[in-house]
Every structure is written in structure tokens, then in C-alpha cells.
């Protein structure tokens, strides 16, 4: 049986954040996961709090008004701000440098996603910041006909209807990397790592621009060298250029994964995929080892600390059966907030406040899971990310912020409480 200072379960934003923070502080970290997490599907922004329930301009201030059971309230606004600062440093000093993220928890950007409905977001890649719709400059939306996941005319029309007074026009380029018939966002991002392809794009777009227009592209401006691709287009076109997130695979999300994965590798942490945690060995209110199954063999992974970041119902971290019995799949932790028999579970409108939607693992202020009576269930297990009860990320626009803040806070709590980590490193 292996033994690590900390075993993190899950490779999404929460799990990777906790793992990198722990490993960089000197802890021996193992990440166990079923597969790659939701970073590949996310827009690469950190949406801390977009609606509460009205649109939020200043997330740091709005955090204070959330219910006491909300994960943000449990970790506190300072921890959210610290996590955001840490994330920005990780990006700026990471394997894609000088690619950077901009913004902070004090104010939201208002950015257009692919369908054009404005989206409040606190921290965004530098390549997206010029898309802020509070800036009234007109937008020229450039797409690629071969990229089926991005429709410039739809975005331009919806921007015109957004009520923000932003005028937009659209065009589609016929450029296709490697003469392929079917190219996804990643295929175009690879092409835009190549200066020659950037030059082709500039040559086709530069003559079509009207005075004062900024230029929107699908978020495919480079995967290995996004800063280079973005600056080359800005310089070549002589205009502000910004990326608009696409359908998956999301290139900016993949950049986040690559950055954190590489940071973890450099810090000596390891990731093992296709390892689904199916149970744990316990002793006196602590988990001593996690069990996984590979082929016909059960494997055990000993740990002083466990950070559980397996995601919610969509990722399989939580499961709901047809009899309305919910379970947390790795450790069998109690799931709080599931409406009982006879109680209303869902409301009719898609964006309504559904009673079921805050279900998850309830935790105390130190992210330890608690039972129905509010008593701490396990001493050395911390829960982070979408597994947590009390939030409604899709209504709040808070998913990435929650994962980042709770993953970071979990690592901080482990470092503060741990004796297995050298004191000097833990204090850094």
C-alpha cells in the first residue's frame, strides 16, 4: 500500500488547485481520478459570483450577503480573494507565461459568451478582457466556417439585442488548418500557434474592419502559445482582440488544465487516472486509506489527509437513484438538502430556484463533512468543489470560483493542521 501526505480525489479545478497548493508546499500528493475533469469544458474564467439573485457588479461585496450555509460563507471572503490571487500568480508564472489572467474579486467583467448573453466574470484570461460589453465600442465578430461550434452571426445578432448598445457585425473565414473537413476548437488553436496561420487570418480580416471596431474571435487563439497568438492578432489588426468561449472542447479551459497539471508535475505530485475511489478504511473518525479497483484487484492508497473533489451529480461524485436516495459515491458521506417524501423537489421553470439544486455534502467551516446532526463525520477528510451542499453554481455563475476557493482553502487547512509537512514550507 502506498502512503501519501495527502490524496486528492478528482482532477477538476478544485482537485488540481488543492493538489498543486499542497505539493508546492512540500507535501507528497497523489491525485486519484476517474478521468480528466471539467476544466476542458469550462471557459477558463473564474466566475466568482455573477448573480445573487440580481446581476452582481462587485462580487467581493456580494459574498457577504450569501446565506451562512453557502460554501463561500463557510470559507469566508478573504479565502476567496486569496485563492483568486494565488490562481493569477499560478497562471502568470506557469508553463504558458507570459499568458496571464486579469481582474479580481472586487469587480466583474461583463463578457459575451458564444450566444451573446452577457456573462459576469471576475477573473478572465488576458485574451478575453477586451470583450467587456460595458465598453460600448462596436465589435467585428470573426468566425471560421469549418468550426461548427461557433456562429459569428448569432453572436453579433444577440449582441445587438442585448440592450447594452454594442453594435456588432460578423464574418466567416474559409481558412481551414491542414485542409481538414472537420476541425474542432483545438484544431484551430493548434493552427493559431503557427505564425503563418496567424498571418493568413490577419491578411483576411484587416481589410474588412470598420473604424473603431474591436475584433472578437472564437476562443481558439493558441493552445501552446496563446499570448503569442493574441498579441500577433492585436498587432497585425491594430485593434483590441478578444476571445469568446466556445462549446467543448474549450481551449481556454484546456489551458487551465495544462497549467495546473504542469505545476503539479513540477512540484512532484502525481495523477493516476481510471482510479475510482470505491471506499475507505477508517479508524477512529479518520480515513486511513482509500480503496480503488483496477482490473480484478483492489488497491489501497494510504493517506494522512484526503481532499474529496469528485464533483456533483453531473460528474458522478454524487448519485441520485430512482427512489430519491442520494449518495456520495467515494466515501458514502451523507448528502444534505435532498427534499424528503412529499416535498417539492423541482419548480416548473428551468432557471427557478429548485429545492433539489443545493443538495450535496454538508461541511463545517473547516470543510470537514458533517452528519445530519451537524457533527463532524471525519477528521482528516476535506470536501471541495461541486460536491459541496449549499450553492447553486449555474444560477449564481459561481462554479469556477467555488471550486477554486474551496480547493485552495482545503489545502490551506491541511497545511495549517498538518505535522507531516515541514513547518517552514507549511508557513509559506
Amino acid at each position: 500500500m502506498s502512503h501519501h501526505d495527502a490524496v486528492v480525489v478528482g482532477t477538476g479545478l478544485a482537485g488540481l488547485t488543492a493538489a498543486v497548493r499542497l505539493a508546492e508546499s512540500g507535501a507528497r500528493v497523489l491525485v486519484l481520478a476517474k478521468g480528466v475533469g471539467a476544466t476542458h469544458l469550462s471557459p477558463g474564467t473564474i466566475d466568482v459570483l455573477g448573480y445573487s439573485p440580481a446581476r452582481v457588479e462587485r462580487p467581493a461585496e456580494a459574498l457577504g450577503a450569501l446565506p451562512a450555509t453557502h460554501p463561500y460563507s463557510l470559507v469566508g471572503a478573504d479565502a476567496v480573494a486569496a485563492a483568486v490571487t494565488w490562481f493569477k500568480e499560478r497562471v502568470a508564472s506557469g508553463s504558458l507565461a507570459p499568458y496571464a489572467s486579469v481582474g479580481d474579486v472586487d469587480a466583474n467583467f461583463l463578457l459575451p459568451p458564444a450566444v451573446g448573453v452577457p456573462r459576469p466574470s471576475a477573473v478572465v484570461p488576458e485574451t478575453m478582457a477586451a470583450g467587456d460589453l460595458r465598453d460600448g465600442d462596436p465589435v467585428y465578430v470573426v468566425g471560421f466556417r469549418a468550426l461548427k461550434d461557433f456562429h459569428p452571426a448569432l453572436l453579433a445578432d444577440n449582441l445587438g439585442r442585448s440592450g447594452l448598445g454594442v453594435k456588432a457585425r460578423a464574418t466567416e473565414l474559409e481558412l481551414v488548418p491542414e485542409r481538414r473537413r472537420d476541425v474542432n476548437a483545438l484544431g484551430f488553436a493548434r493552427a493559431l500557434d503557427d505564425p503563418a496561420f496567424r498571418g493568413d487570418v490577419v491578411a483576411q480580416v484587416v481589410t474588412r474592419l470598420a473604424p473603431g471596431e474591436r475584433v472578437a474571435f472564437p476562443a481558439v487563439l493558441g493552445i501552446a502559445d496563446p499570448h503569442g497568438a493574441w498579441t500577433a492578432l492585436e498587432q497585425g489588426l491594430g485593434r483590441p482582440v478578444f476571445e469568446v468561449p466556445t462549446l467543448p472542447p474549450s481551449v481556454p479551459g484546456m489551458r487551465v488544465f495544462a497549467l495546473l497539471r504542469e505545476a503539479l508535475r513540477r512540484a512532484g505530485g502525481s495523477v493516476v487516472l481510471n482510479n475510482v475511489v470505491i471506499g475507505a478504511e477508517r479508524a477512529g473518525g479518520r480515513v486511513t486509506a482509500l480503496r480503488t479497483r483496477v482490473g480484478l484487484r483492489d488497491e489501497r492508497h494510504g493517506a494522512d489527509w484526503v481532499v474529496l473533489a469528485t464533483g456533483g451529480f453531473a460528474s458522478g461524485g454524487l448519485e441520485l437513484d430512482s427512489r430519491w436516495s442520494a449518495r456520495e459515491t467515494a466515501l458514502g458521506l451523507p448528502v444534505a438538502g435532498v427534499p424528503g417524501a412529499g416535498e417539492q423537489r423541482f419548480r416548473p421553470g428551468y432557471f427557478d430556484d429548485h429545492p433539489m439544486s443545493r443538495a450535496g455534502v454538508a461541511v463545517d467551516r473547516e470543510l470537514r463533512p458533517v452528519d445530519a446532526a451537524g457533527e463532524r463525520a471525519l477528521e482528516n477528510v476535506l470536501v471541495a468543489g461541486a460536491t459541496l451542499a449549499g450553492a447553486e453554481p449555474w444560477r449564481e455563475k459561481s462554479g469556477d470560483g467555488l471550486s477554486l476557493a474551496t480547493g485552495y482553502r482545503a489545502a490551506e487547512l491541511v497545511l495549517a493542521a498538518s505535522t507531516a509537512v515541514p513547518a517552514a514550507a507549511a508557513g509559506s
Binding site: 476517474k34 476542458h40 472542447p249 487516472l273 475510482v276 482490473g295 480484478l296
Partner: protein, 412 residues
């Protein structure tokens, strides 16, 4: 539902039905090393969970692009929903090949023991033939084996023969060594070093008679023939497993075959011998790390003042055991290890040897080859023999199994 969620869902029906868990997130497509370098392969999601819905038993397969899947298995590893994409594709390819016919080349590449038995007694001639450009061009024209494809050298002797003359010392522990065809015919020295390393650590090594694990046949879509090989090998190894003797192997793709792939892809979940073997088979580095965790590994390693690039091959990653070689290298003083973060060397067993796939394989491996060139290492290290041959072919850097470094660091 997924194989690894604790339920025993081995079996072809459930393996296939894992496709219902596909949410079209495209994560597999972003990691696929083949579709990322060639438009000839449209990607694992497309030919896997999507196209599988259009494949009907007893009807022709709708799309031959599936044959460009290299079978590296990375799609299954990264899938967040537990879909057995690579396994579904392997099975579909067998059906495709059964419909279209299997070329002579693939039948030959699928049987390394045949080549081994013929080539070993005539090693000088065989090695000359394999390195003669005119003959290789003729072979490319005749059967479609690419004339530049990396070919191993026959050692001219077998590891089995060495093992028969070797008397294991008395030891408290015992393992059975599944050495595979590569060690037997091409790299017998690796087998000898493995035995020496294990004996140095107080483990006696049995070398049972054995034949191919059937993986190359499986990769080439010849499932019935592959099952025969697996069944015979499992029969040979099962008595050890049933006597609580662990089975260790140096060929990481072949141990994966016994551990997982034959059960999942060939649908041999009812083979009692194979089940017994599967639960007891270990990749050699996995086994050595286990010994280290139990305090059974001698760690007074001598310094190895070298820089090496370590590449964990796809099939090694398929074990789901991380990179145990790196944990072992960390115990060796002065050894500087550069970890490759490339996914695949391209060769994928026999894929990169084929005329129509050689260039694709070299493009797939380009990232790895560049990392090795950048590091300018004393040698490269990789757990899989076909990958080692591909890396040496592409980079000119001598490439060894992790055991070779550990053998040296142990002062043997």
C-alpha cells in the same frame, strides 16, 4: 457501471453499453494522439461511442476510418464518464477486419513467436535481412511493412534457454516471471537483469514455459487466435497464482493484457485461469514499488550520474498505477530524471510498422522525440519494448527498460 467502480461489470455487453455514459464532452478527442496529427482518423468519440450506435451485428461496419485508431487506450484513460472507448473500438475493429479480411502482414505481425522461432537460429542472416534496404523495400511492396519501420535485432539465443540453465537461490519470497516474447527473442539480457535484481532483493524467480500473450493478434483484430494464446498462457501461469505466487512481467503491455485487456476486449471474463492470473499479475516496477512500500527493497543504490528522459508508455498508463518507475528512480543517487509529458511514441505495438501508418506514427511521436532531443540525455527509459525501438529509431538515443538502470544502481 464502470469497470472500476467496484462492481464486476466485465463482459462484452456491459463494456459496450458504457457508451451510454458518453456525454459528448470531447475530452477524449483532445487527448487522442492520432486524430491530432492526421485527418484520416476522425477521433475516438466519433468512431467509438457515436459510430458504435450504427454498427449492427452481421452487417458491414459503416466506417473504415476506425482502422486508423492505434489502440493506445488514452481515450479510455481520460474519459471522465468511464466509457470504455478504446475497448469498444478494438472490438469494432475486429468486426471490421473480419468483414474486410486480414492481410498477411497483420497475421505475421500478430505472431511474434513465429518470427522469434524462425529468426533466432538464423539471427545473423535475419538481422541482415531486416536491415537490408532493398529487401525491406521489397517487403514493403510485397506485404506493406514500411521499409523504415523499426525492427528489433534477434539475439540469437533465447531467455528461456538461459533460465533453464539458471538455478534460483533459496529465498523466502518467490515470483513467477512472465517475460514475454520481446525479452525471450530480442532482449534476453533484460530478462537476466530482472532475475538478478529480484534475487538481489531476496526474491527467487521461477521462469515457467510460456508463449505470446496474444496482444499483437488482438491489436490486429484476430480475436479468436488471440484467445487461444491467452488461454494457453493463463493455463501456464494460473498454478502460480493459485499458490499465492505473484506473477511479474517486464513487458508492460503484455502484463496489461493479462491484467485487464483480455478480460475486457476479448471477453474472456469466464476463463477461471485468466481471472486467477489477472488478480496476481504485476508490472515489474509496480511490484518493486510494492516491495519498497513493505520495506523489502534494498535501497543502498549506487550513484548513477546520468541524465535520462523517462517516457511512460500508453499501455503502462493503462495499468492505472501511476509511474512507479519514477518512484524507484528517486531512490537512485545522482540520477537526473526528466519526465516526458508526451502521450505516445506513435508505434502502438505494430501500428507504426505498417506502410500506411508509419508516417502517422512518427508524427504522433514527434513531441516525445523533441523532448528527448531537448534534454540531450545519456539515455531514454521506457517500459515497453516496441516503444523503446521506436524511440531509438527516431532519436538515435539508446533507450532502456527501467530495470536496466536499477540493475546497474544495485551494483550488479
Amino acid at each position: 457501471m464502470a469497470l472500476h467502480d467496484g462492481h464486476d461489470v466485465l463482459g462484452t455487453l456491459l463494456m459496450r453499453e458504457s457508451l451510454d455514459h458518453c456525454v459528448k464532452c470531447t475530452i477524449c478527442e483532445t487527448f487522442c494522439p492520432v486524430s491530432n496529427v492526421t485527418p484520416l482518423f476522425p477521433g475516438p468519440k466519433y468512431v467509438g461511442p457515436q459510430a458504435e450506435r450504427f454498427r449492427v451485428p452481421d452487417e458491414p461496419s459503416p466506417d473504415a476510418s476506425l482502422d486508423y485508431c492505434s489502440g493506445c487506450g488514452i481515450c479510455t484513460q481520460v474519459c471522465p464518464q468511464g466509457v470504455h472507448i478504446a475497448e469498444i473500438n478494438s472490438r469494432a475493429r475486429a468486426h471490421l477486419k473480419a468483414t474486410h479480411g486480414v492481410p498477411l502482414r497483420d497475421r505475421l505481425l500478430g505472431r511474434p513467436t513465429l518470427a522469434g522461432r524462425l529468426g533466432t537460429p538464423a539471427a545473423p542472416l535475419a538481422n541482415w535481412t531486416l536491415r537490408n534496404r532493398l529487401l525491406r523495400l521489397a517487403a514493403e511492396k510485397a506485404i506493406g511493412l514500411h521499409h523504415r519501420a523499426p525492427m528489433p535485432r534477434f539475439a540469437g539465443r533465447t531467455f528461456q534457454r538461459w533460465a533453464r540453465g539458471h538455478t534460483p537461490p533459496q529465498a523466502a519470497r518467490r515470483v513467477a516471471f512472465f517475460h514475454g516474447c520481446g525479452t525471450n527473442y530480442y532482449e534476453p539480457r533484460l530478462g537476466e537483469m530482472t532475475v538478478a535484481l529480484l534475487e538481489h532483493n531476496g526474491v527467487a524467480v521461477d521462469v515457467p514455459k510460456q508463449d505470446c500473450c496474444g496482444l499483437p493478434l488482438q491489436s490486429n483484430g484476430l480475436f479468436d487466435d488471440a484467445r487461444g494464446y491467452v488461454h494457453r498462457l493463463a493455463q501456464r501461469l494460473a498454478p502460480f497464482a493459485r499458490a499465492d505466487v505473484d506473477i511479474v512481467g517486464t513487458s508492460t503491455s503484455c502484463t496489461l493484457m493479462l491484467k485487464r485487456e483480455a478480460l475486457e476486449i476479448l471477453g474472456m471474463e469466464d476463463d477461471a485461469d485468466l481471472r486467477a492470473v489477472s488478480a496476481r499479475v504485476f508490472d515489474i516496477c509496480e511490484y518493486l514499488v510494492g516491495m519498497h512500500e513493505r520495506g523489502e527493497l534494498k535501497t543502498d543504490f549506487e550513484p548513477v550520474p546520468e541524465t535520462v528522459v523517462y517516457h511512460a508508455p500508453c499501455q503502462q498508463q493503462g495499468h492505472g498505477i501511476g509511474k512507479p518507475a519514477l518512484d524507484l528512480f528517486a531512490l537512485v543517487p545522482e540520477l537526473r530524471v526528466v519526465e516526458s509529458d508526451a502521450t505516445c511514441c506513435g508505434v502502438a505495438g505494430t501500428y507504426g510498422l505498417k506502410r500506411e501508418k508509419y508516417d502517422i506514427a512518427m508524427k504522433v511521436g514527434a513531441g516525445l522525440f523533441a523532448q528527448i532531443a531537448d534534454a540531450a540525455p545519456d539515455r531514454a527509459v521506457c517500459d515497453s519494448e516496441t516503444c523503446r525501438w521506436q524511440i531509438e529509431h527516431a532519436t538515435g538515443v539508446r533507450t532502456v527498460h527501467p530495470v536496466e538502470l536499477l540493475h546497474r544502481a544495485s551494483g550488479l
